[in-house]
């Protein structure tokens, strides 16, 4: 699991990226950078702690509460430590029509965890999400930026085994 230290700071590369993001918006509208910057933060730390939120507030010159209310509204931000791979499994109708519920049952059994839990080795966190806009290729789950589509029990086994190496 990724933990944040007391001194929270972006790597120099990410800090440069954040500055570039802030410059995209008109002067004084730097708050617009909040969601993109939270994504960069999650990329670095794996999750968004309150220390990270305070740090982001400082970078954007906004109040910490403005970051808290946003980070807690948008479901993509993990507010607790997560495993190395976060599996975001689509539970919405069209994926279910394609056998999504059965494949989900298999995945849970394979990992030995329920939604919201992390495997004891810290390798996988399972999260249920709503429609990922890939209904024609369901069942679907996402790990970071990658979509895994047309899932079957066999495919799930392969993916988990590959990522467990």
């Amino acid at each position: 699991m990724t933990e944040t230290s007391n001194t929270v700071a972006f790597t120099p590369e990410r800090l440069a990226q954040v500055k570039e993001i802030i410059e995209r918006y008109p002067a004084g509208k730097q708050k617009s950078a909040l969601l993109p910057v939270l994504h960069v933060a999650q990329e670095q730390w794996g999750w968004v702690s309150s220390e990270v939120m305070d740090y982001v507030a400082g970078l954007l010159d906004i109040l910490p509460v403005e970051v808290y209310e946003v980070a807690t509204f948008y479901t993509m931000f993990h507010l607790d430590p997560v495993g190395k791979h976060v599996i975001e499994y689509c539970r919405t109708g069209p994926c279910c029509l394609m056998g999504g519920e059965d494949v989900y049952g298999h995945l849970k059994q394979k990992l030995g965890i329920e939604a919201g839990q992390t495997t004891t080795d810290g390798n996988f966190t399972l999260k249920e999400v709503e429609c990922l806009a890939a209904c024609g290729w369901g069942p679907v789950f996402q790990i970071r930026e990658k979509y895994y589509m047309n899932l079957t029990n066999e495919k799930v086994d392969e993916i988990i085994e590959e990522l467990s190496k």
Binding site: K29, P94, L97, E130, C131, C135, G136
Partner: protein, 446 residues
């Protein structure tokens, strides 16, 4: 093969690159618009095309552009809504991934028409890989002089910014999207003022769907009148349909509006029919929020006419016997699908996605989910069926934004057309709550 406006070159290898896209005639609309047309003339072409917003509401795009306030000295913004999150809809995902330059070309001519010098593409955050594709394409367009300062020497400046969302369906509602783009929670705004007067940063703003904007290059190249000649009646042009569920060939298809529903469903050019050995039970024609229809109302209207893939034909009969075009999310259910379970699933979605501002939606979506859950799991009572209808009526029309309606319609329509399936769940609780159990009786007739 049917006419293609958006996807003609989608299978050309390398079409996601500037070079190949340009070789296929890409960016000609930018040259034509910026060099030979005034912004108002571009707006006029959009009006003539008759194109209706492809995000779901179907409002005429040219008319929406015409509402944009133009006070002196205040910037105007174009924001592309790429927050595609309506269950059953994945066309914009497909379009942006395969044809990023088509959207960028559309953004340039549309921004020029509206007098915007900074425009945004708000993409749902889950599609980060698509955001990277768009950013790469924007850099290519800029390197080739189609974005940035003094585009093609015409004196027109435009910066395109791709914004990532954070996983919230509500941000597909245009004022919630603007709030989100300002770095806030996605709470829809009260209207008026409309975005055309006070939108992003309280400046005049137009919000358009990806597919709507992607039609503009063709409209500029061929003229709005030529566009309006395609399609049927007030349903002009083509439409991307996201086809999913129990069909042979799920995927994204571009159809000419006015195509028969039966042909779309059964032809090998499109869905290829219901999967082998099964038959059609129900259809959601326009994304999860539009009313579900039973098999007997899908191919034909209640009046016995062929049902067509058009705004008018799909809504023929109102909600009693019709549905809506919506976003074109075409979800097909065969006889193995349980309508109660699916309705519960959709209700859970809307409950999860309600922003919580309006109590009818915040509370009502939760109640509907709860009632549907108990019916599906064998604990329902007959009273629950009417309770669902009652809750849905109390949500519908009583909220700031249409999410409330979107949550109410699937429930109300499922009860309307499949009441006996709900009753069976209540009278046969043990049987109905078995995994995979589906009501096999006669479908309720309207």
């Amino acid at each position: 093969m049917a006419r293609k406006i958006l996807t003609e070159h989608i299978n050309v290898p390398g079409i996601e690159t500037f070079e190949v896209y340009r070789k296929q005639g890409g960016y000609a609309a930018v040259e034509k618009a910026l060099k030979t047309l005034t912004p108002d003339e571009v707006v006029e072409e959009a009006k003539k095309s008759g194109i209706r917003g492809r995000g779901g509401a179907g409002f005429p795009m040219g008319m929406k552009w015409g509402f944009l306030a133009k006070p002196e000295g205040i910037p105007r913004y174009l924001v592309c809504n790429a927050d595609e999150s309506e269950p059953g809809t994945f066309k914009d995902h497909h379009l942006m991934k395969c044809l990023p330059h088509l959207l960028i070309e559309g953004m340039i001519v549309s921004s020029y028409a509206l007098g915007a010098n900074k425009s945004f593409i708000y993409v749902r955050g889950e599609l980060m890989y698509v955001i990277r594709i768009l950013e790469k394409a924007i850099a290519e367009a800029k390197a080739n002089g189609f974005l940035g300062k003094n585009i093609l020497g015409t004196g027109y400046d435009l910066e395109l910014v791709v914004q990532s969302g954070g996983g919230a369906y509500i941000c597909g509602e245009e004022t919630a999207l603007l709030e989100s783009l300002e770095g806030k929670r996605g709470n829809p705004r009260n209207k008026p003022p409309f975005p055309a007067v006070k939108g992003l940063y309280q400046s005049p703003t137009v919000v358009n769907n990806v597919e709507s904007i992607a039609n503009m290059p063709w409209v500029i190249n061929n003229g709005g009148e030529a566009y309006s000649a395609i399609g049927i009646g007030r349903s002009t042009g083509t439409k991307l349909i996201s086809a999913s569920g129990h069909i042979q060939k799920p995927g994204v298809y571009e159809i000419e509006l006015g195509l028969g529903v039966e042909e779309f469903l059964n032809s090998d050019e499109y869905c290829g029919g219901i999967r082998k050995g099964h038959h059609l039970k129900a259809l959601v024609a326009g994304g999860s929020s539009v009313p579900i229809l039973p098999a007997h109302l899908i191919m034909k209207t209640a009046a016995g006419e062929d049902r067509l893939m058009s705004y008018e034909s799909l809504s023929d009969g109102g909600f009693a016997t019709g549905t809506m075009m919506g976003s074109g999310g075409f979800i097909v259910f065969d006889e193995t699908a349980c309508i109660v379970r699916n309705t519960w699933n959709f209700s859970r979605f809307y409950h999860h996605e309600s922003c919580g501002q309006c109590s009818p939606c915040r509370e009502g979506t939760g109640w509907m989910e709860k009632v549907l859950h108990r019916i599906e799991h064998g604990h329902g009572s007959m009273h629950d069926i009417d309770l669902l209808v009652d809750i849905s009526k109390k949500i519908e029309g009583n909220t700031i934004c249409p999410l409330g309606d979107a949550a109410a319609w699937p429930v109300a329509s499922a009860v309307r057309h499949f009441r006996d399936e709900f009753m069976w769940h209540i009278t046969h609780p043990h049987e109905a709550s078995q995994p995979g159990a589906v009501y096999q009786g006669e479908m309720a007739l309207v």
